[in-house]
Amino acid sequence: MTAVALSRPARVLRIEIRRSVVLWSVPLLAALFFFDSFRTVSGFAPVWTVRSSVLTTNMIEDFGPFAAGLAAWVASREGRRKTGDLLAATSRPAWARQLCALGATLFWLLATYLACVAAVYIDTALQATWGGPPLWPIAVGVVEVVTFAVIGFTVGALFPGRFTAPLAAIGGFLLAFIGYHAALGVQPGMSTYALLSPSTAVPLGDAGVFYHVAPDLAIAQVMFMGGITVGLLGLLTLAPVFRVSYRGLLAGISRAGRWLCVAGVALLAAGVAAAATAFALAGTAKPGVSGWDIPALHDAASDQPVPYTPDCAGIALPVCVQPAFSAFLPAAAAALQPAAAELKGLPGAPVRAELVSDGNGTRNTQGMLFAGMPKPGVSGAPPVYNFNSDNGMAPLWGSPAGTDNAGWRAGFQQVFLSAFVAGPPQAGADILTPAQQAVVTALMTAIGSPAPQFDEAFTGNGQVVGGATQAQIAAAAQRFGSLSPAARHAWLAAHLTALRAGTLTLNQLP
């Protein structure tokens, strides 16, 4: 059997791949991925869209700067190693040579990046209970790594010096940083750039669950970064033209070759056009049901809610969740049963608890709601307790340091009881009156959970609010909690309306 003969470019590429300096940086990249991206994503809910957000945020902050720096190092090789004359006397054009060097650099960078993507996706697949791996984040991430590398390569080729590589790495860090902060909306004037930056805040806990995430923004981002990449490759192609300066541009064009110049100009123009088009498209983006929609790219069919059959558990109070959150159902149901038992028979007591979508409030540049998110509450006839992933269950995801199950359970019960005691969801700040706080505290104690910690805002930063201090509230709670369950239940049945209206004072609690 004869071996497959490799073409010339493939053989050059093989040598470059074998001897690439990037190979020696793979352990560092892997370590950064583990400590930063993998540990971070382990604290996210096992929802595909949520976990895949790390591909374009943390992982890019790990890979991007080194892609830029190492590519700059490779590109400056000819200048540092004084092989310019030797290579100039060969027939293969400079752009072909550089492409092989860049290709080898990208080979190891992307191989490492994709291996890390596989680690994230395999870990998610082992835990996710619904849906499948999204591919657009991979595409965006790959293009991002390539763009960082090409930026660094261009800088290294144009300025071959020993300081170019670390300066390119610093530039990579800054690009990733500025993109991230633009996405958070730190710079209001940069909103279109913010949309085009693949960096994002952690998406809502149910991103891509109730509604499909439209690929509009991902397409624009790929187009934008791809345009930058192609444009820079055009610049690299034209670089030899500008190096021959002793007789001016015409001499440079003549020496470099007319077709090469045409190709370089075409690449540069195509890149600029693509990037400008993406910028224009991103400028037309508007908030959609699950992210940002760009009218020219949007498929209206993707706005339809994703059909599902909820998973339910619990007898005293059935708790129903979208199947993507089935892993948390037993804990959620177990947490709410004792609390529901305290409320059973009371006017407006919920007959069911249901996880609903985070809704369609005002979002920041990457779809993170910061206003208008529905609050957990009891509503409807028959009354149903609605909670959402971010407000109700997010703390259950935990963090790289571990999950505080007891803390989550107490918090989940507190939110449930507070929603019932306070009445229908209110717009504005969540402020329970002292009497309401005392009742919730007493009920929490009655079901064996620790006394709740209300935020400082609830008590006005320690100042006297509504005529009560923390000590007074605690005393009233203890008093109310010392009643028998039947007496407590009867009092609540009789005074629930007044309690919800906020007209009861601490002294009026038994």
């Binding site: 053989r11 000819e78 190693r81 030797l86 007319r258």
Partner: protein, 250 residues
Amino acid sequence: MNIELSDITRRFGRNVAVDGVTLDVGTGVLGLLGPNGAGKTSLLRMLATILPPSSGHLTLLGRDPRKPADRREIRRRLGYLPQNLGYYPSFTVVEFVEYFALLKEMPPHLVPKAVAAAIEKVDLGPKARAKLRTLSGGMLRRVGIAQAIVNEPELLLFDEPTAGLDPEQRVAFRALIRDLGQTATVIVSTHLVEDVGAACSEVALMSNGKVVFRGTPEELTARGEAGQGVGDAPLERGYSAILAAARSAS
């Protein structure tokens, strides 16, 4: 003629490195002598198509290097060893020579054999898999020679090829270029007159950018006997006599 130079000049700012050189060279070995700063390296770099001339006309292998397509074809048939050889320390000997064979657009199926042959010709077979960073200066020079000859070029340019070679290797190198000169045009720029005498069929002597002598080594020797040259060897005396005459004329 593989090389046709007609009134070639090369300037670097106000410095005229090569001044109106006219030279025709065919198959054989031409030794290029001259003191430091005579313009030998600049001339060689123009012949290697790295540097365009400031004025004059240059034809290499019947082609005009000003045209990109012709230049590319020339480079396919060119072997060049610069004075300062740059290299990539992590490459092995085989990889380095193979890299240049591929950059010279040799047919891929011929590359492995050509690389092996080139490495054997410079007697680096046992070191074929060694990384370049582990080689001595002389061995690196031989690697440089190997990459220059791997594509069996029709035009070979060597700038100080024997720097760092031990005497035995220098003898081997002279035999090699005599052999190469049977079918190719070989130009060897060197300070070592004994290399010129042993290997070259012709000698050109440069001074201040001009070619002040063109002839055979015997003719150079004769000029030393006739003039007031100094040196231990006949060629050295011829060399110094011609230079002295050139300086007094200018």
